[in-house]
């Protein structure tokens, strides 16, 4: 097996995540799909790091993880405050700019 298979897997996971973002209406599940896409990117970065034989790819994957953590904290806070004002976590209900 060539490590390029990891890249195929990462592409597949990224695609599944992207389809999830487009298809699902529940804001939490949309968020999980975004996490899946970020994870797929991390897998490809780690694989590239192995293919090129240096550690820079892993550093970038590390930064991606930090940014993902920050993003999740803020995003989930937004979902909670949306739920408080609308009593629903559906992305369709948040169609007005005004709360």
């Amino acid at each position: 097996m060539n490590p390029v298979n990891y890249l195929y897997l990462a592409a597949l996971l990224f695609t599944i995540g992207a389809a999830g973002v487009l298809i699902r209406r529940n804001a939490i599940v949309v968020f999980m799909s975004v996490e899946l896409m970020l994870n797929a990117c991390n897998l490809s970065l780690v694989t590239f790091s192995r293919m090129h034989g240096n550690l820079d790819g892993q550093i970038v994957a590390f930064f991606t993880m930090v940014v993902a953590a920050a993003e999740v904290v803020v995003g989930l806070a937004i979902i909670v405050s949306l739920f408080r004002s609308r009593h629903s976590a559906s992305v369709d209900d948040a169609s007005l700019m005004k709360l």
Binding site: L9, A19, L36, V46, G53, D92
Partner: protein, 272 residues
């Protein structure tokens, strides 16, 4: 770049691991977007993330593999579960389409995008790879090598990451903080209001009275055996999470009577 170290194949063990766990990862990802309830999605995603952690370890990224388990499956997924609990476990997705044909269009877009990505990777010439053995060993290990890069070449990015984390923390606190717009009513005012309305003067009845158990989601039973809505909290009522055990109590009673009759009958026979 040292080309003498280049290889074209990994070990058979890794190939077997890849094909087994890769299947698990893809199935987990599909379940994440196809499950109707958010809790099931979260659990499937956690499974996929653990599989990815194993792949990181297999790729020689030991630090990232452990961080993946601690940060993603440990912290981020638990945060997701917390929010799912806050928002309501049973809040299933509405299956009504607001845009006509959007679901199929999205699935088609996803398929096309996937084919494009995979074809792109297939066309790239990636037949050899250099393994991380030398890079990991250069500074005494994977963690040492990463630390060396992180605190030399990427030190500014690292500092900015700290600022980002602080900002995110403050942002989350600001977003979820709720300012009280009116004064909280005192106990005396609440009591006066109750007397004025005259609907329910004493405290509300406790859940589970006369029922089989006194868990909060079980409505207390009225003397005639029907459940009383008053006894369960408003939130549970709105979410339809009230468990009705009124028939169970009656069935239990019936079973008890039948058993005691059997016992009595047997006893009478024994006496005879």
């Amino acid at each position: 770049m040292n080309t003498t170290l280049a290889a074209t194949l990994t070990s058979t063990g890794e190939a077997v691991q890849f094909w087994i766990l890769g299947t698990v990862a893809v199935v987990g990802a599909l379940c994440t977007i196809l499950m109707k309830k958010a809790v099931h999605s979260a659990l499937c995603l956690a499974g996929t993330m653990i599989v990815l952690a194993v792949f990181y370890l297999a790729n020689g990224a030991y630090f990232l593999g452990v961080v993946q388990i601690i940060v993603y499956t440990g912290a981020i997924m638990m945060l997701f579960l917390f929010v799912v609990m806050l928002v309501g476990v049973t809040a299933a997705d509405s299956l009504k389409e607001t845009l006509k044909g959007q679901r199929w269009l999205a699935a088609g877009c996803g398929l096309g995008f996937g084919i494009l990505l995979i074809a792109g990777i297939g066309n790239a010439s990636l037949s050899t790879f250099n393994g991380l053995g030398a890079a990991n060993a250069a500074h005494g290990g994977n963690v040492e090598g990463l630390a060396r890069l992180l605190f030399t070449r990427y030190v500014f990015a690292f500092e900015i990451t700290g600022a980002l984390l602080i900002t995110a923390t403050v942002g989350a606190m600001v977003l979820t903080h709720r300012e009280r717009t009116e004064r909280a009513r005192t106990q005396r005012e609440l009591a006066e209001q109750r007397v004025r309305e005259g609907k329910q003067l004493p405290p509300l009845p406790a859940p589970g009275v006369y029922a089989r158990h006194n868990a909060v989601d079980i409505a207390g039973l009225l003397p005639d055996g029907t459940p009383s809505e008053l006894t369960v909290s408003k939130t549970l009522r709105e979410r339809d999470q009230v468990r009705d055990v009124s028939s169970e109590a009656l069935n239990d009673l019936k079973a008890l009577e039948q058993r005691s009759e059997e016992r009595l009958g047997r006893d009478e026979e024994a006496v005879k």
